[in-house]
């Protein structure tokens, strides 16, 4: 599979990563290289093999329905560029 420049631009935008226009061709080439490398895996016949999700058999860890966390408003907001009256304040977003 090869990634063209338009796809690279689009993927960058979806990931909100700023990429300069002149860097796109190199990036598209690298992404294509990675995908081509990974495509070697398609050569392995995995018919009837269950996808593996863990090296050792493990059960998804569960928690009980008990409130054990929260009430740390100041810490939650500590890294916010702007916070007011307990809220994160961000540039206006309205549909």
């Amino acid at each position: 599979m090869s990634i063209d420049i338009d796809t690279a631009r689009r993927v960058a935008h979806l990931a909100r990563i700023a990429v300069r226009e002149e860097d796109l061709p190199a990036l598209a080439g690298e992404l294509s290289g990675i995908l081509t490398f990974m495509e070697q895996l398609n050569e392995v016949d995995v018919t009837g093999v269950e996808p593996m999700t863990s090296v050792t058999p493990m059960r998804l860890k569960r928690r009980a329905d008990v409130v054990t966390d929260g009430n740390i408003q100041a810490q939650i907001l500590a890294n916010a560029p702007d916070a007011r009256e307990g809220f994160f304040a961000v540039p206006k977003v309205v549909e």
């Binding site: 979806l14 998804l60 329905d65 939650i76 809220f87 206006k92 977003v93």
Partner: protein, 505 residues
């Protein structure tokens, strides 16, 4: 079973400028799972707390934080699946749905796209006595809710609160089996009723705990039947999705507007463009959410932080064994055991608490009479005073006691209403029998005493006797006088019979 006796309602037909059109509607209901803590963190789900106080580092997506699933939320989703007669998937898995928005700190929502926990089920939506639409459920999956943005606190800023971020949701996806705005509202109401019976969602639409996305398309009559026969969507029109509605009234209005908009485009020779739209209740119209379009590439992939969710059949069986009686079964039982009308059965089963109250009053008594008293006297009074059933001053046992006094002939219907009033306002918790005795409420059934009163009134009113003999309809005057003379304690039926006999009618 109950559902075999139903016939489907006729689809709604809208007359366009040129031809007739039918509607095809599918719904995605987002129901907040009733739980103490969030789906993947130990923060509270409480509504109306200080902003950003019910937030853990997991919810705020701080680096290195890992989600740990709340087992009770899984149980609630399974219970909901069982409640809509659905297949439960013993293995399900979580995926990341990637998009950027200020109320989504992770940059992705953990959802279940490829392997939902609940598969196909169905909901029976009654549209009248003997008329019901069977709406197929395609799937139910668990996912995280987003936070809340407030846009009106500052002219240039939006304020974001993550308290709702990470709260567990069930997305309940229907097949396009709904055929009109009224059916859509009735479907939401029925689903809400089932969820409330199950205790898996409080159904509070005002707080946004139950919201609906509605997919609407229109087609010519006959096309839908072709789709049903083949399950081939190409027989249907292009659909538009109206997002995030939390009122039955808006759902109906939005569907009606959207259908007419699409019909106008088609009759003009145009094409409906598949898109996401928003309903504006102030203008009464839907409009395109263009900004959502580009972001529609969600780049789903399996969530690497979570192993597949494996549950055991024995655990599911245990949940199934603890299921409450659901609305359809309860209604059927009320019809069968208590002989109440279809309408009364619907009213009585609307809420589980109301149904339990009626059950307690009606058990071993006259079911129809119990229904009249519970609906007209009790519900009517609660409604008027804005109280819930839990706040009723008269208990089921007390109301049952009142009905027992009527049944034994000890008090009349009129006295029973007075007694109910006393229990309601003056004697909360008192034994109706004792109150009736203390207040001298006793219907005179002793015919000797009634006979004496009848004789006295006949003797004293020869003119009325003559009139009544000429026109038997006037005998009611004597009955009234006798009841008055006995202080309202004489049994009206007994008086009637005696009056007729004495007057020789």
């Amino acid at each position: 079973m109950l559902d075999l006796t139903f016939t489907p309602p006729a689809p709604k037909v809208i007359q366009g400028a040129r031809e007739d059109w039918e509607l095809v509607i599918g719904m995605e209901i987002h129901a907040q799972i009733a739980s103490n803590a969030k789906l993947f963190s130990g923060a509270s789900t409480a509504f109306g707390s200080e902003p950003n106080s019910n937030v853990s580092f997991v919810d705020a997506a701080m680096p290195g934080m890992l989600p740990v699933i709340n087992e009770f939320c899984v149980e609630q989703a399974v219970r909901t699946g069982l409640g809509v007669k659905a297949q439960i998937n013993l293995v399900s898995a979580f995926d990341r749905k990637n998009y950027f928005y200020p109320d989504l700190p992770q940059g992705y929502q953990i959802s279940q796209l490829y392997h939902p926990i609940v598969g196909e089920g169905e909901v029976l939506v009654e549209m009248g006595p003997g008329v019901a639409r069977r709406v197929r459920i395609e799937r139910i999956h668990m996912e995280q809710d987003a936070g809340k943005s407030i846009h009106d606190m500052d002219p240039n800023l939006s304020f974001v609160d993550f308290n709702r971020t990470g709260v567990a949701l069930m997305e309940i996806v229907s097949r396009p089996d709904i055929r009109g705005p009224e059916e859509a509202a009735a479907y939401v109401a029925k689903l809400r009723q089932i969820l409330r019976y199950l205790g898996t969602c409080d159904g509070n639409m005002q707080n946004g705990n139950l919201r609906a996305d509605v997919n609407v398309s229109v087609c010519r009559p006959g096309q839908y039947e072709k789709y049903q026969a083949t399950q081939d969507f190409s027989h249907l029109g292009t659909r538009c999705e109206i997002k995030n509605m939390n009122s039955m009234r808006f759902i109906q209005a939005a569907i009606d507007y959207e259908a007419r908009r699409q019909i106008a485009i088609l009759e003009d020779g145009g094409k409906v463009v598949q898109e996401t739209r928003l309903y504006d209740p102030d203008k009464g119209e839907t409009r395109s959410m263009r900004s959502k379009e580009e972001a529609h590439d969600y780049r789903y992939f399996p969530c690497p932080d979570l192993m597949p969710l494996e549950i055991e059949q024995a655990w599911v069986d245990d949940i199934a064994a603890r299921m409450p009686e659901l609305p359809d079964a309860k209604k059927a039982r009320f019809l069968e055991d208590y002989g109440v009308t279809d309408y009364d059965a619907s009213v009585l089963t609307a809420e589980a608490e109301n149904a339990a109250f009626f059950d307690a009053v009606a058990k071993g008594r006259d079911g129809k009479q119990a229904a009249n008293w519970v609906i007209n006297e009790l519900f009517g009074r609660l409604n008027k005073e804005g109280r819930s059933i839990a706040e009723s001053p008269v208990s089921a046992a007390q109301l049952g006691g009142v009905l027992d006094l009527i049944a034994s002939g000890e008090i009349s219907g009129k006295m029973a209403k007075d007694l109910f009033e006393i229990l309601w306002t003056e004697a909360p918790g008192a034994d109706p029998k004792e109150v009736a005795a203390a207040r001298g409420m006793k219907q005179v059934t002793d015919t000797g005493a009634i006979e004496k009163a009848v004789d006295e009134i006949i003797t004293a009113n020869p003119e009325q006797v003559a009139k009544a003999k000429a026109n038997p309809k006037l005998a009611g005057w004597f009955t009234g006088q006798v009841i008055k003379a006995t202080g309202g304690k004489a049994n009206p039926a007994a008086v009637n019979a005696l009056v007729a006999q004495k007057l020789g009618l």
